[in-house]
């Protein structure tokens, strides 16, 4: 009886592996097929001769490296600034004695409920007025702002738990608040900083709508936007499209393979606290 139950459970879990992974595997197979093979409609066939030319063609036709560079640039800057700004604010909110601290926290928390797409239009008019529309800054600034609420929430939660004695003794030794923040609080706060890094990375690396709305020149397109414009441009070149999609997915998949445990932990922490 118990073994039948076990068998049923394993079968269910296996089916789930197939439904969750098969579409991704299918895309990889697809990316090695010729147009004829794709159009023949046999959905489980392996490609006859893996067509690597799909990749070289897609690479030559699209600006893959440019997109990749833009995504790295935007994501890294956003991550660094979010960590600096959010940890400073979280420190002030959780450790300083001031009446408005809970209000400040509430203001940031309110931001968690505001849908980013509602700000698209006013941000666009604002950016075109100060002439930064269609630059990397038009992405980085709102990205930072929309990542700070979760970051502050996670970090202030952690910083509240740091024992006060550490700070007090440093204070007695004549260290300034800035010094304490930099040399004591920041090094202790590495775990929540990692969590924030992961959340910011996943969110910003994959962001599409802001990029598609604010960026128009090829030079500044990020990877998701670049992939999407490649796909709509080469609409019938199925093999190349498949290859470009795989290339678009590879960076984040690689990072996931290396850091999967950290990423899943970080995402849970972000969800639980967000």
């Amino acid at each position: 009886m118990e073994s039948i139950k076990k068998g049923v459970v394993y079968l269910l879990l296996a089916v789930l592996v197939v439904t969750q992974l098969y579409p991704l595997l299918w895309l990889i197979l697809y990316s090695f097929k010729t147009n004829e093979e794709i159009l023949s409609g046999s959905f489980f066939a392996l490609p006859q001769n893996p067509r690597f030319a799909n990749y070289t063609e897609a690479y030559e036709a699209g600006n893959y490296l440019q997109y990749l560079f833009n995504s790295v640039f935007v994501t890294v800057i956003t991550m660094v600034v979010v960590i600096i700004l959010a940890s400073m604010t979280a420190y002030a909110i959780s450790r300083f004695r001031w009446k408005l601290a809970p209000v400040a926290l509430l203001v940031f928390l309110l931001g968690l409920m505001i849908p980013m797409q509602a700000t698209l239009l006013p941000l666009m008019t604002m950016f075109s007025k100060i002439d930064i529309l269609n630059t990397r800054w038009s992405l980085i600034l709102p990205y930072i702002a929309f990542q700070t609420p979760v970051a502050i929430f996670i970090m202030s939660g952690f910083m509240k738990g740091i024992p006060h004695e550490i700070e007090e003794s440093a204070f007695m030794d004549g260290a300034s608040v800035y010094r304490i923040f930099r040399s004591i609080i920041m090094p202790i706060s590495v775990p929540p900083i990692m969590t924030v890094c992961i959340l910011t990375f996943i969110n910003i690396w994959n962001e599409y709508i802001l990029a598609a709305t604010f960026i128009s020149s090829e030079r500044f397109k990020t990877l998701p936007f670049g992939v999407n414009s490649f796909v709509s441009q080469y609409a019938v070149n199925y093999g190349n499209i498949g290859a470009f999609l795989v290339m678009g997915a590879i960076p984040v998949i690689l990072i996931y393979f290396i850091l999967s445990e950290r990423i899943t932990k970080g995402m849970v922490a972000g969800a639980v606290k967000g």
């Binding site: 076990k6 459970v9 269910l12 879990l13 592996v17 969750q20 579409p23 299918w26 895309l27 697809y30 023949s40 409609g41 959905f43 700004l85 400073m88 604010t89 420190y91 002030a92 909110i93 959780s94 450790r95 300083f96 004695r97 400040a104 931001g111 505001i114 849908p115 509602a118 700000t119 239009l121 006013p122 008019t125 604002m126 600034l141 702002a145 700070t148 502050i152 700070e167 608040v177 923040f181 690396w205 962001e207 599409y208 709508i209 998701p224 936007f225 992939v227 199925y238 499209i241 498949g242 678009g248 997915a249 984040v252 998949i253 996931y256 999967s260 995402m267 849970v268 969800a271 639980v272």
Partner: protein, 297 residues
């Protein structure tokens, strides 16, 4: 609990850079949106006419696409929330029967980390008609159900359901991970004590797992709910709200009336409506759960 008493300008140095940027990028736009929502304006010309609440009145009473979009948004939320009990069941099963459950869960999690563009374009090719190499139609064809083949995304009848499926597929791993972590965090000695009292298997789940999982369950429900209210980019990538408005939700309606039809005032009013709906429902769902939690504990 806050120990350090520092001068006010020290607080300023720590808080202001972040707060100012945040206000400029999040709050100012919302206020500007609120102001524009009272205007008749095409976004380009200087002609801004104050028309009061006319835009809102038109949204609520004259826009043939608004209420269907609200209905789809809510359906989205309902489907996403119905998924959570399923993920909880799987979490319990994995926790009980699989030794290295973490690895399995992180496999299920894969689709979550991919960009909505990759997911959307991948599923577009999956839904393609047979003569464009679509997978679903290929399967139907090879098992002899040719009569059920359709161009899924260009059929007004099926397009929205096709989108729901993609969302459910992508976020299954996310909620499974959250529930699994929750189940794992329940101390095992409670189960051992229950076993001595004669409760194990599903009986133990009924009296131990379920009550203790409520807070984690709530997190998933809230996330699924808010996520679906804001559901937007997947639809933009896959259908853009079409065919013939069949997949419009509130956000796509807003985006298209702003950036396609240049009705900026009207689009702003839709944006404000979305913000209000999000705020109201977030408060509502939190208070519902407060009641449930009080009853359970």
């Amino acid at each position: 609990m806050n120990v350090l008493k520092v001068r006010w300008w020290t607080i300023g140095i720590f808080v202001l850079p972040c707060l100012l940027l945040y206000i400029m990028m999040v709050f100012v736009p919302i206020v500007v949106s609120g102001y524009n929502s009272l205007m008749l304006w095409d976004g380009i010309g200087p002609n801004k006419t104050f028309i009061g609440l006319e835009n809102y009145r038109n949204i609520l009473f004259n826009d043939p696409y608004f209420w269907p979009a609200v209905k789809r948004t809510l359906m989205y939320a309902v489907f996403s929330m119905l998924e959570i009990p399923v993920t909880l069941l799987f979490a319990i099963l994995i926790n009980r029967y699989v030794r290295r459950g973490n690895t399995l869960v992180s496999i299920y999690f894969m689709p979550v980390i991919l960009s909505v563009v990759i997911i959307g374009q991948l599923w577009k090719t999956i839904y393609n008609p047979l003569d464009m190499g679509g997978m679903i139609n290929g399967i139907l064809n090879s098992i002899g159900m040719e009569e059920h083949m359709t161009a899924w995304l260009s059929s007004p009848k099926f397009a929205m359901y096709s989108l729901y499926i993609v969302s459910l597929w992508q976020y299954f791993g996310y909620h499974l991970l959250i529930q699994y972590t929750g189940v794992q965090n329940i101390p095992t000695d409670i189960y051992e004590a229950a076993k001595i009292d004669g409760a194990d298997g599903f009986k133990a789940d009924r009296y131990i797992t379920l009550p203790l999982i409520v807070p984690v369950f709530k997190i998933s429900i809230v996330l699924a709910f808010i996520g679906s209210l804001q559901a937007f980019d997947l639809i933009m990538v896959m259908t853009g709200g079409g065919p013939a408005h069949a997949t419009d939700v509130i956000s796509t309606l807003m985006y298209n009336s702003t950036f396609q039809e240049y009705k900026y005032g009207y689009g702003s009013a839709l944006a404000m409506t979305l913000v209000i709906i999000c705020l109201v429902f977030t408060v509502l769902i939190n208070s519902v759960f407060k009641r449930v939690e009080n009853k359970v504990s």
